[in-house]
C-alpha cells in the first residue's frame, strides 16, 4: 500500500486533488481511498487531504502518519506545518515553489522535489490553480499513476475547455518531472 498526504490552503483544491488521484489510480487498476482531514473549511487556512493506493481493497480508515509521498501546494506552509512529519525514507516530498529542493532545510530522509507549478498553471490554464498540475507532477516523480489516467479523471470532473486546459497542464508537469526521474 502507498500512502499520500497533501498539504494545501483552503480554496487550493487539495481535497479535489486527492479525489482525482483516487479516481485515476482506480482507472489504472488499483484500489484507492481519498479523504480530507476534515476541518471547518476556511479559505486560506491549512488543509490536509489523504490518499491510499493498494493492490487489495483498502480497509484502514485512520489518517496517514507515515506517508510514502507528500504533496505541498503552497511553499509558505513549510513554515507553518510540519510537512515532512513521518515521511518515509525513499519517499518523496513534492513542493510547489520556484526555489530549489536544497533551499528547504527539511528534517527528513525522504527526497525533496520542487516544481514551479504556479508558473505552469498560469502559462497553460491562465489561473494560479495548481492542484491538477501538481498531481501531474506527482505522477512524473513517482511513476505511481499513468498521466493519461489523471487527465481522464480531470476531463470527467471538469468537462469542456477547463478540463482540456487542466489536462494539458498535467501532461506538461508530468513531462518536466518524469525527465528528471
Amino acid at each position: 500500500m502507498k500512502e499520500i498526504r497533501i498539504h494545501g490552503r483552503g480554496g487550493q483544491g487539495s481535497v479535489t486533488a486527492a479525489e482525482l488521484l483516487a479516481v485515476a489510480a482506480f482507472e489504472d487498476g488499483k484500489f484507492s481511498q481519498a479523504f480530507p482531514a476534515f476541518g471547518v473549511e476556511r479559505r486560506g487556512a491549512p488543509v490536509t487531504a489523504f490518499v491510499r493506493l493498494s493492490d487489495k481493497p483498502i480497509r484502514l480508515r485512520s489518517q496517514i502518519y507515515e506517508p510514502d509521498y507528500v504533496i505541498v501546494q503552497d511553499a509558505t506552509l513549510v513554515d507553518v506545518v510540519d510537512v515532512a512529519s513521518g515521511a518515509k525514507p525513499g519517499g518523496f516530498i513534492l513542493i510547489n515553489t520556484e526555489k530549489s529542493p536544497e533551499s528547504f532545510n527539511l528534517n527528513t530522509k525522504a527526497t525533496v522535489r520542487t516544481l514551479d507549478a504556479t508558473k505552469v498553471a498560469m502559462d497553460i490554464i491562465g489561473k494560479p490553480i495548481v492542484n491538477t498540475t501538481l498531481i501531474g507532477a506527482f505522477a512524473g516523480v513517482t511513476g505511481e499513476i499513468k498521466p493519461e489516467s489523471i487527465q481522464n479523471a480531470v476531463r470527467e470532473r471538469f468537462p469542456g475547455k477547463v478540463g482540456e486546459k487542466n489536462a494539458e497542464a498535467i501532461k506538461a508537469a508530468y513531462d518536466m518531472m518524469e525527465a528528471k526521474r
Binding site: 486527492a18 479525489e19 483516487a22 479516481v23 482506480f26 484500489f31 484507492s32 481511498q33 481519498a34 479523504f35 480530507p36 476534515f38 471547518v40 481493497p57 483498502i58 480497509r59 484502514l60 480508515r61 485512520s62 489518517q63 502518519y65
Partner: protein
C-alpha cells in the same frame, strides 16, 4: 466485480441507492448539520432522474413530521440527518415508531455539542436508542449503499412496520472517495417490492393513527412494538441472504465474525472502525496474538442470541464505543454486551473502551494498546473497568 465499480463519494453512493429504491417523499432540512446525501438527492429530483416529492423544510423536526404524514398515507419515505439535527427530531421519532410508520433515514453519525464539534462519533444515534427505531451500522461505503434497500424492505415488511436508521460514520464514510458498485435499478426492482401498506389514512375509509390509548391498552401497543423488533431480528438475517442472492454481496446478518472461531480475545465494534480493527488483527495474528472481531450490524434490535453464540469460545471481550453514557463511564455497546452475558453460565470479562469521540482519529496503535491491556488482564486473571482508550495526558 472490480469492473462494475466506480470511485465516488460515500454520500453519493448512498444517495444513488436511495434513488433506485424510488421513495415517494423525501423531506430534509438542507442546512448544517446536513450531508451531501440530500444535496445529491435534490439534484436527482431537479434533473428528473427520480419521480418524487422533495420537501425542503425549515427544521429537522419538520422534516420528520412531514414524513410521518406522508408515510401514514402510504408513501415510501426517506430523510437523512446527523448530530443536532437528529436530536431535534427526538420527540417525533417516538411518534413514527408508535404509529408503526416505516420511515427510513440515513443517520450520518456525528458528535453532539457543546462544545461545538462537527466531527464523527456515534453519540447522536446511540442517544436515540429507545425511540423504537431499528438501527443498523455499516462498515464501509459499499455496505452503507447496500444497507439502503435492505432497510427499506425490513422496515416496510408487514410483520415489522418499524421506522429504521441506517447509520454510517460521518466524514469517515460520508466524505471518503472509494471504489463502490452503485446499485443497479433492475436488481433493486427485483429485490425491493412496492410499499403496499395494509392500513393508510384515506378519506374514503376513515381511521386514526396514534390516537388516544389509556392505561387499559397503551402497554399492548408497546408490547407489539417489541414483538415487531423480534420479527426484525429474524428478517435482518434473511434479507442479508436475499440481498446476497441477487447482488452477490454479504456483510453478515445481525453480526459478523472475522478471525473469530479460535480467538481468545474478541473485539466488538460497530461502524467504520471495523476496517481498521481487521487490519490490526491481521498484524497481531502474525505475532501470534489470538484475537478476532465480532462486528455488530444490528444495535436495535440487539441480537442477544447471536452475540452469545458468537462469543462462546472467547476468553476476554473488548467493546469499542464511539459514545458514552456519562455517569456510567462506559459506552452503549459495552452495557449491552455485559447485560446479554449476565443471565447465562458464560463468565467472560468484558472491558469497555470508549474512543474516537468528536472525530479523534483511531490509528492501529490505539487498537494494539487496547488488545495489549486485554492480554495483560487475561494473563493475571484480573478485571479492568471500562474507560477512555485515547485520553490525552497533556490536557
Amino acid at each position: 466485480m472490480k469492473n462494475k465499480m466506480t470511485v465516488v463519494e460515500g454520500s453519493y453512493a448512498v444517495a444513488h441507492s436511495v434513488k433506485v429504491c424510488k421513495p415517494n417523499v423525501i423531506s430534509a432540512y438542507p442546512i448544517t448539520p446536513q450531508t451531501h446525501i440530500v444535496e445529491d438527492l435534490s439534484q436527482f429530483v431537479a434533473d428528473g432522474e427520480i419521480d418524487c416529492e422533495y420537501m425542503n423544510v425549515e427544521s429537522e423536526f419538520s422534516a420528520i413530521s412531514a414524513l410521518i404524514g406522508a408515510s401514514a398515507v402510504g408513501a415510501r419515505t426517506y430523510s437523512s440527518t446527523t448530530s443536532q439535527g437528529l436530536a431535534l427530531m427526538h420527540e417525533a421519532l417516538f411518534n413514527a415508531s408508535g404509529m408503526r410508520l416505516p420511515i427510513v433515514m440515513t443517520v450520518v453519525n456525528r458528535a453532539l455539542s457543546a462544545p461545538i464539534n462537527i466531527w464523527n462519533d456515534q453519540q447522536d444515534s446511540i442517544s436515540q436508542r429507545d425511540t423504537g427505531w431499528i438501527q443498523l451500522y455499516a462498515e464501509d461505503v459499499q455496505e452503507s449503499a447496500d444497507m439502503t434497500p435492505q432497510i427499506f424492505k425490513l422496515a416496510e415488511d408487514k410483520d415489522v412496520l418499524l421506522p429504521a436508521m441506517s447509520c454510517m460514520d460521518g466524514f469517515i464514510l460520508s466524505h471518503v472517495y472509494e471504489p463502490v458498485i452503485l446499485l443497479e435499478q433492475d436488481l433493486t426492482d427485483e429485490f425491493l417490492p412496492q410499499f403496499e401498506p395494509e392500513f393508510i389514512l384515506d378519506p374514503a375509509n376513515p381511521m386514526s393513527f396514534g390516537a388516544f390509548a389509556d392505561p387499559t391498552t397503551y402497554t399492548e401497543f408497546r408490547y407489539r412494538q417489541e414483538e415487531a423488533m423480534g420479527v426484525a431480528l429474524k428478517k435482518i438475517e434473511t434479507l442479508a441472504n436475499e440481498f446476497n442472492d441477487i447482488y452477490g454481496r454479504y456483510y453478515g446478518g445481525l453480526v459478523d465474525g472475522y478471525m473469530l472461531d479460535d480467538a481468545e480475545i474478541v473485539v466488538m465494534a460497530m461502524g467504520s472502525v471495523i476496517g481498521t480493527v481487521k487490519d490490526t488483527i491481521d498484524m497481531l495474528r502474525k505475532d501470534g496474538v489470538s484475537v478476532g472481531l465480532l462486528k455488530v450490524r444490528s444495535f436495535r434490535p440487539f441480537p442477544v442470541d447471536a452475540v452469545r453464540k458468537a462469543l462462546k469460545n472467547a476468553k476476554i471481550i473488548i467493546t469499542l464505543d464511539k459514545n458514552i453514557s456519562v455517569g456510567k463511564n462506559e459506552g452503549a455497546l459495552c452495557t449491552e454486551v455485559k447485560a446479554c452475558l449476565h443471565n447465562t453460565k458464560m463468565r467472560i470479562p468484558v472491558i469497555g473502551f470508549m474512543l474516537g469521540h468528536g472525530g479523534r482519529d483511531i490509528p492501529m496503535g490505539t487498537i494494539v494498546n487496547i488488545v495489549d491491556k486485554a492480554k495483560a488482564a487475561m494473563k493475571t486473571d484480573s478485571f479492568i473497568e471500562s474507560g477512555f482508550a485515547d485520553l490525552r495526558e497533556d490536557l
